[in-house]
């Protein structure tokens, strides 16, 4: 194998070449990259749909599309963003790339299964896209597919449901793989509490993926059965119970929101110590808060149904537990701040994204509390307030977490460096645009602007227009970020093995990593975040 022409040492990117070697790769890093390219494509597609919706809403009445198109757009936007982008998102991309390295393993426990789940994912994603263009109407039930509408409307709902089902299956397999990997493949000496925090957050996430997804799987199948066979489990015309559908849907989909945010929390937990050159503050509290979020997150699903006519007692119960699940998040936020406190803080792009994560997540989280209190939720349920809440927390949380991860591990993944200044400017646009885009939606929501509305009352004109301007600013930021990252994959300056002076295992191997990560499996002798390596000393 030593007849390589290029001067580059062999690594996972070049040890085999050709499209086929990529499509059949079982190397976790390559699978991670496959996911990265797929997910980015889908993200951009759905983001453009979001932009189109905002343009439509920039003025009253039909602007650039019909109501039918708008309804199909937010459905597709929601389905792609939730099921295809953010649920697999961080876990499938950076989990795959970094998890085995960070725990000192050569690969995940079941590499072929890993590749298999990628193809399941692609199948599901294509099915989702296909549902838009297949004969008949694009699906238009929203990403929540509430019955009876979704059981009766004449659009390609079945395809969309099957897509979500398939994607769920991929998600289950990834989760399964990670749990086993973490249990069985840790390097010698790496006890549970010597494991870095990103793997910990993936561990908590994986359990949710594993145990919550099947419930929605069977639920969606039941809706399919309902549409094809006329047995109504949920449709009241056939004797079914529409609220039962909501229960089953949210039994999955609430825990799923923690599938989105936990890995992002894991990412920033890696970033803060590295850029402060200081151990994580409160390792154990962070570990246990991840587990607590995963566990308690199973029991709060009913907060999406406060107005559904659920029993009085349930509303009480779900509201109460919802508030409890906020506590572990609070613990994390405070620990992150304390990690930076007293450190030697270097404001590089990853950290910039990480601190905006804290800011946006805090706003998203607090508005989550507004939604968690029954009385206030009654007012803002299904209004733009909810839309703003989850964009703040998903896009501002998971999305910015993803960007942070991208900027953090980029040199590791490609062995190249992006342009730092450009990265900061792009961040500026993204961050500003983000707030201009979504903040007005909180205010309109409180005033009563309902969501999934194609048209609106003149009193919301100003807010909607400002918000549309925000979307355009974001658009500029995103383009700048993407161009910067894509361009430097090949042309960037060569990156050293450890550009940020990190201490977790992935920084101790070359960039890009060799095919099997480690020539020799490392033996771990101490806690993950001890900053006494030569890099700090030399400063």
């Amino acid at each position: 194998m030593n007849n390589q022409v290029s001067a580059e040492p062999l690594n996972y990117l070049n040890h085999k070449t050709g499209l086929w070697s990529w499509l059949t790769a079982t190397d976790h890093k390559r699978i991670g990259l496959l996911y990265l390219y797929a997910i980015s494509t889908f993200f951009l597609t759905a983001a453009v749909l979001g932009l189109l919706m905002k343009i439509e809403k920039s003025s009253i009445g039909p602007t650039i599309m019909t109501a039918q198109t708008y309804n199909a757009l937010f459905t597709l936007h929601g389905i792609i963003m939730i099921f295809i982008v953010v649920i697999p998102g961080l876990a499938a991309v950076f989990g795959n790339i970094c998890l085995p390295i960070m725990i000192g393993a050569k690969d995940v426990a079941f590499p072929k299964l890993n590749l298999f789940s990628f193809y399941v994912y692609i199948t599901g994603a294509c099915l989702g896209l296909y549902s838009q263009f297949a004969n008949g109407h694009s699906p238009d039930a929203g990403w929540t597919f509430y019955v009876p509408y979704s059981a009766e409307v004449n659009s390609n709902i079945i395809l969309a449901l099957l897509a979500a089902f398939t994607l769920g299956f991929a998600s289950i397999l990834t989760g399964l793989n990670f749990i086993v990997t973490i249990h069985r493949m840790r390097a010698p000496g790496m006890t549970w509490f010597r494991m870095p925090l990103f793997p910990w957050s993936l561990y908590a996430t994986a359990w949710i993926q594993l145990l919550a997804t099947p419930v929605v799987g069977i639920t969606l199948l039941m809706v399919v059965a309902e549409r094809t066979l006329h047995v109504g489990f949920f449709d009241p015309k056939l004797g079914g119970d529409p609220v039962l559908y909501q229960h089953l849907f949210w039994i999955y989909s609430h825990p799923a929101v923690y599938v989105m945010i936990l890995p992002a929390m894991g990412v920033v937990t890696e970033i803060f110590p590295t850029f402060s050159q200081k151990p994580v503050f409160g390792y154990l509290p962070i570990v246990f808060s991840s587990l607590a979020i995963a566990l308690v997150g199973y029991f709060v699903w009913g907060h999406h149904m406060f107005t559904s006519g659920m029993s009085y007692e349930s509303r009480w119960f779900f509201s109460f537990i919802t508030f409890l699940v906020a506590i572990p998040s609070a613990i994390k936020v405070f620990n992150w701040l304390s990690t930076m406190y007293g450190g030697s803080v270097d404001l590089q792009p990853p950290l910039l994204y990480a601190i905006s994560f804290i800011f946006l997540f805090t706003i998203g989280g607090f508005t989550g509390l507004t939604l968690g209190a029954v009385a206030t939720d009654i007012q803002v349920h299904n209004t733009d307030f909810v839309v703003a809440h989850f964009h703040y927390i998903i896009f501002g949380g998971m999305g910015f977490g993803f960007f942070a991860a991208m900027h953090y591990w980029y040199p590791k993944i490609y062995g190249r460096m992006y342009h730092i200044k450009w990265a900061k400017i792009a961040w500026g646009f993204l961050f500003t645009g983000f707030n201009v885009l979504y903040f007005p939606m909180f205010i309109m929501g409180i005033q009563g602007m309902p969501r999934r509305y194609y048209d609106y009352d003149p009193k919301f004109q100003l807010g909607q227009t400002i918000s549309s301007v925000g979307a355009v600013i974001m658009f500029i930021g995103l383009i700048a970020m993407i161009v910067n990252l894509v361009y430097h994959v090949r042309r960037g300056a060569k990156a050293p093995a450890n550009p940020w002076h990190g201490v977790t295992l992935e920084w101790q191997i070359p960039s890009p990593p060799p095919h099997e990560n480690f020539d020799e499996i490392p033996v771990i002798t101490r806690e993950p975040y001890v900053f006494d390596n030569p890099y700090t000393k030399e400063k």
């Binding site: 426990a109 079941f110 299964l113 086993v180 145990l211 059965a225 489990f233 119970d241 229960h247 089953l248």
Partner: protein, 209 residues
């Protein structure tokens, strides 16, 4: 749905670490549990709502066939467990024979199901039929659940059967032996799960009338 393990042969050794493989299988079984769990929740809610109708509808089911199938599955569960004992004791032929018994019993189960479904179909009682559409709502619901639950279970019986056939062939060829029987163990685990689910389906659908 295939089991995770037999797709896996890492580059380093032909056999995968036993504990790893088994844990993977267990996790997979958990997802199956929640898959049927969703159906059980629907069943419970609907039963609470349509107690009377469920009562009437359940009378339509043949408890005898149900009971027979319960016994069939329990015995098959035992034979597959025994085959594992046999392989651990290096009694290859006995192991093959026991798996074969299990497969036979699976066959019996399916034949029973064939008659059971056949009877329903001859009464035009199947999802989408006119007869079924005209039943009281609770009965439609019962039969809908009945067909979905037993149908999904039957699907698992088929998958389990295929899996055990592969296991049997590999035992025969010696690929599964006293040293390496992870796939055998996992196949057995899957088969027991099929049994477990039936343990709940039987009283809920056939008995509680």
């Amino acid at each position: 749905m295939s089991t995770p393990e037999h797709t896996e042969h890492s580059e380093h050794s032909e056999y995968i670490d036993v504990e790893t493989g088994k844990m993977g299988m267990w996790l997979f079984l958990f997802t199956e549990l929640f898959l049927f769990g969703g159906l059980f929740i629907v069943y419970a809610v609907m039963r609470a709502r349509y107690g009377e109708d469920f009562h009437h509808a359940a009378l339509e089911l043949n408890a005898f066939i149900g009971a027979t199938n319960t016994v069939v599955l329990l015995v098959s569960s035992m034979t597959v467990a025994m085959s594992l004992t046999a392989i651990q004791k290096s009694q290859k032929n006995l192991a093959v024979g026991l798996i074969f018994c299990t497969l036979l019993l699976a066959g019996v189960f399916m034949i029973n199901k064939y008659f059971e479904y056949g009877h329903k179909f001859s009464l035009h009682l199947y999802p989408g039929s006119d007869v079924m559409r005209n039943l009281p709502k609770g009965e439609i619901m019962f039969f809908g659940l009945y067909f979905l639950m037993t149908g999904l279970h039957l699907f698992h019986v088929v998958v389990g059967g295929i899996l055990l056939t592969i296991v049997m062939l590999r035992v025969k060829s010696g690929k599964i032996n006293k040293e390496h029987f992870l796939l055998h163990e996992n196949g057995a685990l899957y088969w027991h799960l099929v049994d477990l689910i039936w343990i709940f389906l039987f009283p809920l659908l056939y008995l509680i009338t």
